[in-house]
Amino acid sequence: MDFEFNEQQNMLKTMARDFLSKECTKTKVRELEKDPKGYDPDMWSKMVELGWMGLIFPEQYSGTGADLMELAVLMEEMGKNITPGPFFSTIALCAIPILKFGTETHKAKYLPPIADGKNIWSLALTEHSGRFEASDVNCIAKYDGKYYVINGEKWFVPYAHVADYLLVLCRTESGHKPEDGLTLFIVRTRSRGVKSELIQTIAGDGQCRVKFKNTKVSKRDILGKVGKGWDMVKYIMQRATILKCAEVSGACQAVLEMTTAYAKDRTQFDKPIGSFMAIQHKIVDMLTDVEGLQYLVYYTAWLLSTGGKADMQVSLTKAKANEVYQRICIDGIKVHGAIGFTMDHDIGCYFRRVKAAEYMLGDTDLHLEKVAVGLGL
């Protein structure tokens, strides 16, 4: 057993920290929250140069063959700094299932442009209910003898407005169970009938409502098998969820760090406020939350990258991430007092993203239920 990063992981971590602290300042984060694109193409191309897009792709697809653990290390650093942009949607939500379920043609066609930073992707799964349940998928794809024709709408699709491609989960037939008869399509956003509209979110983090009106997709652009879309969603729900948790873990570490520093610095009643037990113990509780989440993320990412059984582990980590991120931000703001309530202070940048992380890939209740199933309940 070893809790240490290996050399490669350490290098990646240092590189990411150095790059992001320089390029992705909180001033930049605030700017991007107001920016119509929601990301900085200049920063994006530098991330491409650093090799982040193709990090986990095999060499033949212009990648460097790293594993999920390394990607988690990178996501953790991105979370610390808050890195706005379609990295998560492109890599975690789309490239990962393409790597696993795509045909050779799919991989050769779609992965190199991702690695080169030319294409942005996103996953269109959630619908009007805002949930991650198969029974809520009503988007229809009907085969007309030549094409599948998609009609319906998707909600909370990250960065769809700047994406080149979407993975769209549609109902192709009605099965016995809601999970049956779902299919995942690769849809070009420039296709006829696709319309993305930005949802005004608290974090200005580029989430969209996407409408499909008689959008035609060829059979070639089905990912995996017809009717087996939910299997892929389950796979995404594992890998992408742990990467989201890694990002949240990084964010929580940053909030703890700024809160501890503030408690040492800020003086009231002639003493640093961190010397008051009520404040000190609150921060200690934050630390225990942060370290617990961090280790669960590492453990789960390790399980997944070594092929271990991890369904319950992923879910308990996500439920923990949801709870911890919210609690850390709220307690952190309380320790800061009024200054923590301002637009000028960085802690708000993290708090604005709590709900987006919580509802991405399943809320706490959904994951607690999965843990209960894992327990044999």
Binding site: K320, D365, G374
Partner: protein, 401 residues
């Protein structure tokens, strides 16, 4: 990052499971603090201690010269975790000896002390049972405030004073005691010394204190001119405080893996119980509230597991985890409290049935934990004391008191 146990560690786990099944057949303990229990339980625990010693497990991480196996910290971790899971009694022999007296003597005992006391503990014999006398009526969380006096007179110390909350004193052959050897110092942390006290010395009175569940764990100790040879001084005279900080960290190290094992077993029992109970025409295990509560408890348990792994890993690297031990102790307490409370909510009205009653649910284990956790939380330092340690040692925040 690598969280795999080695083949050797996994083999040990299998061996312990076999041992538990063979030795505990029909006795399903789950949570055993043997000194709390009745005479017949204590006797059974001591029989198992002897067998554990013969297996070489009782003090496996100690060096061979001290009756150990030179096992790795991870092997010891596996042993503690499994012992907790199966509820193997006798693993701690009243806690003190194995928990911190042995490891502390190896660090700062004299050669003579090491030769005399360490093999006794490792043997699993009743003569290797220790108690620890730290707390006094006016020295609880403010532990440095101890007043029990030891005055040097020739080659003896003469002890006078009182200790309280001394677990296992009524079972112990020896006592690990903190006393004041210098009352003139300006800083109360100075002037404290650690002594080895023979519990058969004349002048010691042991008075039992029953806890609110009617169980005899604690005692009051009174000392009336008790003579202790100066050769029983541990470490340096008047520097006892610094030795104690180390001993206390030893005490808190093994809590996470041990309670993780115990709690995992209890959770399994609770899950099984919910499957057999009808509620609103369905199985209780189908109730969404029950499912969510047990899922929450699982998250806490798995977090505790990681904290246990982390501290063992740090020890294996030769580090001395101070704040980590305090964090694990505080987190253990939280997990214990929540699991016990959830457990009582699941057995409902049966949570008022005594742990020994034939009418009890889940073999009385939930009620036992529920009745014990407030005391266990206070033992080895309250939540507040642990959080002060974490605040200072890890976060670098100023001392609040």
């Amino acid at each position: 990052m690598d969280f795999k146990f080695s083949e050797k560690e996994e083999m040990l786990r299998e061996e312990i499971r076999k041992f538990a099944k063979a030795e505990l057949a029909g006795k399903d303990f789950v949570s055993g603090m043997e000194e709390e229990s009745r005479d017949e339980d204590w006797e059974f625990a001591m029989q198992i201690s002897k067998k554990l010693a013969q297996k070489g497990w009782l003090t496996m991480a100690w060096p061979r010269e001290y009756g150990g196996q030179g096992a790795s910290f991870f092997e010891q971790h596996v042993y503690i975790d499994e012992a907790g899971y199966w509820g193997i009694p006798g693993t701690t022999m009243g806690i003190s000896g194995i928990g911190w007296v042995g490891p502390s003597l190896m660090l700062f005992g004299t050669e003579e002390q090491k030769k005399k006391y360490i093999p006794l503990i490792a043997s699993g014999d009743p003569d290797g049972v220790w108690c620890t006398a730290y707390s006094e009526p006016n020295a609880g969380s403010d532990f440095a405030n101890i007043q029990t006096r030891a005055i040097k007179n020739g080659d003896e110390y003469i002890l006078n004073g009182q200790k309280i909350w001394t677990s296992c004193a009524h079972r112990a052959r020896w006592c690990w005691i903190a006393v004041r050897t210098d009352a003139t110092v300006a800083k109360k942390q100075h002037g404290i010394s650690l002594l080895i006290l023979d519990m058969q010395s004349p002048g010691i009175t042991i008075k039992p204190i029953l806890n609110y569940a009617g169980i005899h764990i604690f005692n009051e100790l009174f000392f009336d001119n008790v003579k202790v040879p100066v050769t029983n001084l541990v470490g340096t005279e008047n520097r006892g405080w610094y030795h104690l900080m180390q001993s206390l960290a030893f005490e808190r190290h093994s809590m996470a893996p041990q309670f993780y094992g115990t709690a995992r077993r209890l959770l399994e029992h609770i899950v099984k119980y919910t499957g057999g109970i009808r509620y609103h025409g369905k199985s209780l295990s189908a109730d969404p509230m029950v499912r969510h509560k047990l899922a929450e408890r699982t998250i806490e348990l798995e977090t505790l597991k990681m904290f246990g792994y982390e501290i063992t890993w740090k020890m294996s690297k030769g580090l001395i985890p101070i704040y980590e031990a305090a964090r694990n102790k505080a987190y253990c307490d939280l997990v214990m409290q929540r699991l016990a409370t959830t457990g009582t909510e699941i057995i409902g009205a049966y949570s008022q049935v005594d742990m020994w009653s034939k009418w009890g649910k889940v073999m009385g284990h939930i009620v036992r934990l529920y009745m014990m956790f407030p005391g266990l939380e206070i033992a080895a330092g309250t939540d507040e004391v642990q959080k002060n340690i974490i605040g200072q040692f890890k976060l670098g925040l100023p001392r609040p008191y």
